[in-house]
């Protein structure tokens, strides 16, 4: 496994991280700009997404069409996304095209046109996305769970609210761009085939004179209701459950994560076995870990026919109660095997590594090599996990259901 990860902090605050994977033909990059949904003004939810949509509509010397054409000609497989803390611009291509691609992204991040004549088209793109979620019940229930579980602004959906998107003006976008697209707090992760010295010089030329802007902290509100049913005309009822857990940077993280790995992950995991395999209650059931800087949560999901939804919820809550009683050595052994192979296979993907190293830097202020993660997972013991679970049993649940009828959430659970 690769042991070395290059790092360079530019005087303006931009951090460049790079993991060489010389066995690949490709290189991938992820720019994380400190413009997340938590930074949306209260009356302008979705502004980070709106701005992201606008910066891609022409930058530097290229208009909308030329920018896209040049990205395509360089074979850049690209994607943009907005998370709670960042707007991320990621791309992957063959190694020789990296300098050209980075130059285009320097324009996008620093010299977007934010053209007035494209504002309405961009607004329509966001409105279409908001409407599309209304037709995706499994996605909608998780958005509503997050909104209620984490206090505002941490629980906000990145695509905003319809009314705010409709009212957003060009000045809003330009103001947001000026404040939030800045080198301080920005991270560029690169992984794959590259020459480090050349890369560092190039990034310095492109972004070294980018001017920092003052940073501010979001103001925290309170979380939402503990149980809410959202009526929805569908065959299936969507069930979503959240409970707090240790964040990624916490010393307890791996022990907490180990418990969740036994609950869900692999087809022999507890939720899959008990809900789907033994009882045939659903097609899809899982639990996943979500981390913020200072808090984490486990989100659980199942979608099942309305008539069997109560039983499904009861079985899921039963499994969460059983988890508190501890995990078995054979379950931990399987988890370790799965993680070991996943870590080794990550070395076959430049995209996976370029986003991982950027995330590590944001959450930890350092980057864990695959070797180090492997060691931490190896060091996990049943005793350690069980002690954590005993001290922090799954509790303080937030539950959201979406479907034809409301469910009974047992007293004391919520």
């Amino acid at each position: 496994m690769s042991e070395s990860i290059y790092k360079h902090a530019f005087p303006n605050g931009l951090v460049l991280l790079a993991e060489p994977m010389s066995w690949l033909e490709s290189v991938a990059f992820t720019f994380s700009v400190p413009a997340g949904s938590v930074d949306d003004p209260a009356s302008r939810s979705g502004l980070a997404s709106f701005t992201c949509e606008m910066v891609m509509r022409g930058a530097g010397e290229r208009d909308n069409h030329h920018l896209m054409q040049d990205l395509d000609s360089l074979g850049v497989e690209r994607g943009e996304s907005v998370s709670d803390a960042h707007t991320r611009f990621s791309g992957a291509t063959v190694a020789a095209n990296l300098p050209g691609a980075l130059a285009l992204y320097a324009d996008i991040l620093r010299r977007p046109h934010l053209p007035a004549e494209q504002l309405e088209a961009a607004r329509q793109v966001l409105i279409q996305e908001l409407r599309a979620v209304e037709d995706e019940p499994s996605q909608k229930v998780m958005i509503e769970l997050r909104r209620r579980h984490f206090p505002d602004p941490w629980g906000r959906p990145s695509h905003g609210e319809m009314e705010a998107v409709q009212q957003t003006s060009l000045d809003d976008v330009r103001g947001y761009f000026t404040r939030r697209y800045r080198p301080n707090g920005a991270i560029l992760g690169v992984a794959g085939r590259f020459d480090w010295e050349a890369l560092k010089d190039l990034v310095g030329q492109l972004l070294g004179d980018w001017q920092p802007q003052p940073a501010d902290e979001p103001v925290e509100g309170s979380p939402g209701k503990k149980y809410e049913h959202l009526p929805f005309d569908s065959n299936q009822t969507q069930i979503a459950i959240a409970y707090p857990s240790a964040p990624y940077r916490h010393p307890d993280y791996y022990r907490a994560w180990g418990g969740v790995g036994v609950l869900s992950g692999g087809m022999s995991s507890r939720l899959f076995t008990e809900v789907r395999e033994k009882r045939g209650l659903c097609y899809s059931v899982y639990a996943s870990y979500h981390t913020l800087l200072d808090r984490g949560a486990v989100f659980c999901y199942a979608g099942t026919t309305a008539q069997r939804a109560q039983e499904t919820l009861d079985v899921m809550l039963g499994e969460l109660a059983r988890l508190a009683k501890g995990v078995e050595p054979h379950e931990l052994a399987r988890l370790k095997a799965r993680i070991k192979s996943a870590l080794i296979m990550q070395q076959e993907s430049s995209s996976a590594r370029s986003s991982s190293i950027g995330r590590d830097w944001y959450y930890l202020g350092c980057v864990r090599t695959l070797e180090e993660i492997n060691r931490r997972v190896d060091e996990l013991t049943c005793q350690g996990i069980n002690q954590y679970l005993e001290e922090h049993p799954p509790a303080d649940f937030t539950v959201v259901t979406l479907g034809p009828s409301e469910l009974e959430v047992p007293v004391g659970v919520s």
Binding site: E25, T93, M267, T273
Partner: protein
């Protein structure tokens, strides 16, 4: 990279692209059976059987199967489509023998009745889930309309009624007829010792009894139609549109893919500029899909219902313009760089190579390296792309639209 192949005495074909540089190994059994090999009475049996394959064998319970895959740290799954049922795993190289043995064993499943009844509930949930999410079954309905009584018009999942009524004996009979070694390809990619791979396969699969397992290949006679299905609870309007295209054996399939990229890739294509950049639609795409003896161009669109009729007209106009005036060499060159980059990126993982390798062999009994694919893409001329448009006009389609609208005006 080295390509190797061998056929066992019972007809099981083994192919592998061996790469000593790879970190992992991907392997899969490609069974040449799917929805097109079914009849009304057993509609959905291929997909249901795919689920049952994981439910245990004479020597393993369902729990054993899941547990043993997880003990290897395997990333494994299966899928079923109109023509194939594929069971695959990505593992560390030291688990090559064990993963061949486990996958091979589950391909001779017990098909126990109590497991069958429990799993039936899971499959029914999958059908209901599919009806709850876009495009609410419109894809199946459009294919059925396009192909009429041709076997490619069949639904992969089947219906709530067909699955509920399916007896376990019918599945056992289907299994006997279709999972013959001569109807299966074992493919591997990544770090593989081929001789070891063959030895492991011989040990586990050498005793499988061959039975003739053919496939009907009637010539499709595609229909043109326009149908509106009302789904009041939907927020957006969805449309699926099918026209004929080059089939899996046709050398025109490469120009067809480039043409689809120029006209309907999810970024930078003509449909993208017309409908997505402008915010008129949420999604629009054009794909080329190839079957044995038949091919399709599939257009997918979702948008605000208020824009649906006009968007369908805009799509028709984009296609008509391409039909009449063609595409430019700049557009073709751009599509080539996109496709080439995707070939390289997906080829970096053994999992990506497995599906390319298995697919090529199942459909054409042909090996194509990444280099072969890159060269084929690079050699396509503008004339070849245009001749695909002449052979398969995009302007004559089968369209199904589903959403809150009661009526939608058909495009001219």
């Amino acid at each position: 990279m080295e390509f190797r192949s061998q056929t066992l005495e019972n007809g099981l074909e083994i192919v592998a692209e061996c790469n000593d540089e790879a970190y992992s190994t991907a392997l899969g059994f490609f069974v040449k059976t799917g929805a097109r090999d079914e009849t009304d009475e057993i509609a959905g049996v291929s997909h249901f059987l795919e689920h049952m394959v994981f439910k245990g064998t004479p020597s393993r319970t369902a729990d054993d199967v899941n547990r043993e895959f997880d003990e290897m740290g395997a990333h494994y799954n299966a899928f079923t489509n109109e023509e194939n049922t594929v069971f695959y795993a990505a593992v560390l190289p030291e688990y090559l023998d064990a993963s061949v043995e486990l996958l091979a064993d589950i391909l001779r499943p017990s098909l126990r009745e109590d497991d069958f009844n429990t799993e039936k509930q899971v499959v029914l949930e999958e059908i209901l889930m599919n009806e709850d999410q876009p495009p609410f079954g419109a894809d199946d309905k459009c294919r059925a309309l396009h192909y009429g009584s041709h076997p490619l018009g069949r639904s992969v999942l089947g219906t709530e009624a067909s699955i509920t009524a399916l007896p376990v004996e019918a599945m056992r009979d289907y299994f006997q007829r279709r999972y013959s070694p001569g109807n299966i390809v074992l493919a591997g990619a990544g770090r593989i010792d081929f001789d070891q791979f063959v030895a492991a396969a011989r040990l586990s699969c050498g005793g499988w009894q061959p039975i003739a397992a053919g496939r009907l290949r009637p010539t499709p006679e595609p229909h043109e139609a326009f149908q509106v299905i009302r789904k009041e609870s939907a927020t957006q309007q969805y449309a699926v549109q099918l026209t004929g295209g080059p089939n899996a054996e046709d050398t025109d399939r490469y120009p067809a893919k480039l043409l689809a990229t120029v006209l309907g890739d999810d970024t930078g294509s003509r449909l993208y500029w017309e409908l997505i950049d402008s915010g008129l639609a949420e999604q629009v795409s054009l794909y080329h899909h190839e079957y044995e003896g038949a091919g399709l161009f599939l257009t997918y669109m979702s948008c605000d219902p208020d824009e649906a009729a006009e968007n369908l007209q805009r799509i028709a106009d984009v296609y008509r313009q391409a039909q009449e005036c063609g595409i430019t060499s700049d557009e073709l060159a751009q599509a080539k760089s996109k496709v080439a980059s995707r070939v390289v990126l997906s080829g970096e993982r053994p999992r990506g190579r497995l599906f390319a390798l298995g697919g090529d062999w199942v459909q054409r009994r042909q090996y194509r390296s990444i280099r072969d694919d890159l060269e084929a893409v690079s050699a396509i001329t503008l004339q070849q792309a245009l001749s695909v448009l002449q052979r398969y006009p995009l302007t004559r389609s089968t369209t199904v639209t589903i959403g809150p609208l009661e009526e939608v005006r058909a495009p001219e």
